[in-house]
Structures are given as C-alpha cells and as structure tokens.
C-alpha cells in the first residue's frame, strides 16, 4: 500500500478520463470533472494519459504516504501542505514514506487533483478506474474514500528527475467567483419563450449548494415555456418533452426555475427539454465553480465551440511537451 487515508475530506474520489462510450446502456462517463487540471497533474508526474488520480472537492483529506512517491497537486486554490509546510501547486513534488499531505481551506475553485507517479491502482471496471458513487461502481470500492482506506500505486520506476518541474504561470487557470460559460443553444430550446431565452442569457446566476458531480443547479431567475398541449409520451410539466438523450453539459429547467447543467455522473437521458449545452472546452471551468459563485451563460455558434476545443487541445499538448 502507498497511501493511507487518515481522514477523507468532504468528497475525495478516484477518477480518470472517464468511462466514455457507454451511453447506450445508460452509463454516464464519471471521470475527472476538470479534465484539464487532472491531465496536467499526470503530465507533471510523468504518467500515461488516463492514469487515475484523486479528485478532492471543497475540503481536503489527510493522506499519509507509506512509501516514497512523486506527486503533483493541480486545480483549485486549496493550498497543499506536506507535514504542515505549504507546498506549491502545479509543480512536481517528492514525498517520503511517513509524509502526510493535508490541505488548507479552499480559496478559489472547487476541486483539487492529486496525481501520483504510477497512478492510483484500483481495479479497472468497464475500461475505467473512475468512481460512479451513485450506483457504487468503479474507483475504490465504488465509493468516496473513507477513513482508514489504503490505496496502492501502479509501477512508476524512478521519477525523481521530474521533481521541481512546473507549469508556467501563464498556463495556470485563474479561478474567480464570477465565471462565464459558453453554450450552444439547443436541442429543445424551441420550448422556451423568446423572452425567457433572453433572460437566461442575461441573468447572472448563482451556483446553489446542491451543485455536485451529477449536476450544477443555479438560481436567480424564472423561465417560461411556450404553452402547448403536451404530446403523447411527454410529461405534464411544460418543461417536459418526449424522452431523449442528454449530452454531458446539457441544461434543463424543470418547472421553469433553477436551470441544471448535467455533469459527469448525470442520468443519460430523460424527458426534460434541454435548452442549451455548455461547450466541452468550458466544462473544466464550470467544474471549478463552487456554491454561491456567480455564472453567466453566453451563446456561441458551433464554429466558436470547436475552435475553443482545438485551442484547449493545443494548450494541453504544449504543456505536455514542456514537461516531457
């Protein structure tokens, strides 16, 4: 064993790039909510892409290393400490057997990622080590870490030459209490009245305390749907349509209040009209918003969304190159 959980924090789970491609059986991808921070962590410690790490939400765990390891903490501004001494984030660190990693209070962002050379070695379930806590599959026993858990690491070899490598300042995301997320309007936006679509895009929404890995719920306005007689197969709520698939990042508005952006652990389909989808390049940023932060949604076209995706891919490739 290599990591002993002395206290688990609020919600610490094993995650990787996710269980993609299983929508047909209703299986959401799970996986790191902020893929950028998670992947850069792997680059820092020299892991293969897709090696499992820990996602740490809102309040950090206390982890004891039972053998020497090479690690990196990326993501939220939640200062890590090794044996009580503050350690840098976005930088490759070495820890020795007996060292204890803790975290100071969260300042900005929502999720920190711990990458460890060799990756967290939990059993692979359906080609992924990601935890899907809602039905208890994947990760460490299908659940968030608990006190006394022990985690094994994959074979890493000597990575001590990586210690001290760091992501350059300009490449480190800055998180704040106000975020703009780009959305593609659709698939069922025709259900919303024109005024309500305008209001959706003009409102500064507040992240509610409910926001989690399943979905981000917002308050701050009320949206109306075009009145109609509901078609056969659709529910009675004007927000209902005949069941269809929900993209990750899609936005639904049950009852016309509190829009919800579905995220990595969400149900894969259902009968709520989705009025838009947060573009994939901005989901990292969404995952770093926390309860009570402010969010605005900006409508973009597919071209801009694809350009943003390409830019993010390039940025990650540049960081990987610089750290190789």
């Amino acid at each position: 064993m290599a990591i002993r959980v002395k206290s688990p924090g609020l919600l610490t789970t094993v995650q990787d790039t996710g269980r993609l491609g299983e929508y047909a059986i209703g299986m959401p991808p799970s996986g790191a909510m902020d893929v950028f921070s998670y992947q850069v962590g792997n680059y820092l410690v020299g892991n293969e892409e897709g090696a499992a790490g820990l996602e740490i939400t809102y309040f950090g765990p206390e982890l004891e290393f039972t053998e020497d390891a090479v690690v990196a903490v990326t993501g939220a501004q939640m200062p890590p400490k090794i044996n009580g001494e503050e350690a840098p984030t976005w930088e490759t660190l070495s820890v020795e057997a007996g060292d204890v990693l803790t975290f100071d209070y969260l300042q900005n962002g929502a999720r920190s990622y711990l990458a460890v050379a060799g990756g967290i070695d939990v059993p692979v379930f359906m080609h992924s080590r990601s935890t899907y806590t809602l039905i208890g599959l994947g990760g460490h026993e299908g659940r968030a870490l608990g006190e006394g858990d022990e985690l094994a690491l994959g074979e890493a070899g000597d990575r001590s030459d990586r210690v001290g490598m760091a992501v350059v300042e300009q490449q480190i995301p800055k998180y704040s209490k106000e975020t703009e997320l780009r959305v593609i309007i659709g698939l069922a936006s025709y259900r919303l009245t024109e005024e309500s679509m305008e209001e959706f895009l003009n409102t500064t929404w507040t992240v509610t305390p409910d926001a989690d890995r399943v979905g981000y719920r917002y308050k701050g306005g009320e949206l109306g749907f075009v009145e109609r007689e509901q078609p056969a197969g659709a529910g009675a709520d004007q927000a209902n349509v005949v069941d269809f698939g929900y993209p990750v990042g899609s936005i639904q508005v049950p009852g016309g209040v509190e829009p919800i952006v579905l995220m990595n652990d969400a149900v894969t389909g259902g009968g709520y009209a989705t009025i838009g989808t947060v573009i994939s390049a901005d989901r990292d940023k969404l995952a770093q918003t926390k309860t009570n932060d402010k969010t605005r949604f900006r409508s973009v076209d597919l071209e801009e969304a694809l350009a943003a995706r390409e830019q993010r891919r390039k940025q990650m490739a540049e960081i990987k190159e610089a750290l190789s």
């Binding site: 609020l10 809102y58 309040f59 100071d104 969260l106 305390p209 926001a211 989690d212 309860t291 009570n292």
Partner: protein
C-alpha cells in the same frame, strides 16, 4: 485576537439540526471541544461544525441559512 470557529467548507450555514429543533448553541453558552455548534449544507449533505476548543460563545458572525465560504469565521469564542 478572539478565538473563532471557522467553516471547513463552503455551503449554507444552519444553527439548528432541523427547522423544528432548538439551536445547537446560543451566545453565552459554554461549549467543550468537539461540541456541535452548527451545520453546513453542501452537495446535498449536512456536515456538523464543531468547536475546536472549550470556551464561551461570544457572538455569531453569520446568520442562520447564510451562505458561507471555506475558512470563514462563523462565531467568536472567549
């Protein structure tokens, strides 16, 4: 500097275990280390806020049901 109890995580602060119950503590109450002084709700679960050491509750710095940040002072002790 006055001793304080801080929020460990961001969320909504509550002074009572449920809407029908009495508050956990009032200003002027004596508490011991480990006593629950409130709750924080986040991600659909509730987490107890405990006093770190013994003392008297001097005053609350946040209202019931107020949004709090991680590390925010919730109450002062003396």
């Amino acid at each position: 500097m006055a001793k304080t109890v801080k929020a460990q995580m961001p969320g909504t602060f509550y002074r009572r275990p449920d809407p029908e119950s009495d508050t956990y503590v009032e200003e002027g109450d004596q508490v011991s280390a480990g006593d629950t002084v409130g709750l924080i709700e986040v991600m659909k679960s509730f987490h107890e806020v405990k006093a770190g050491e013994e003392g008297t509750i001097a005053r609350f710095l946040v209202e019931n049901e107020e949004a709090v940040d991680a590390g925010q002072d919730l109450l002062e002790m003396e």
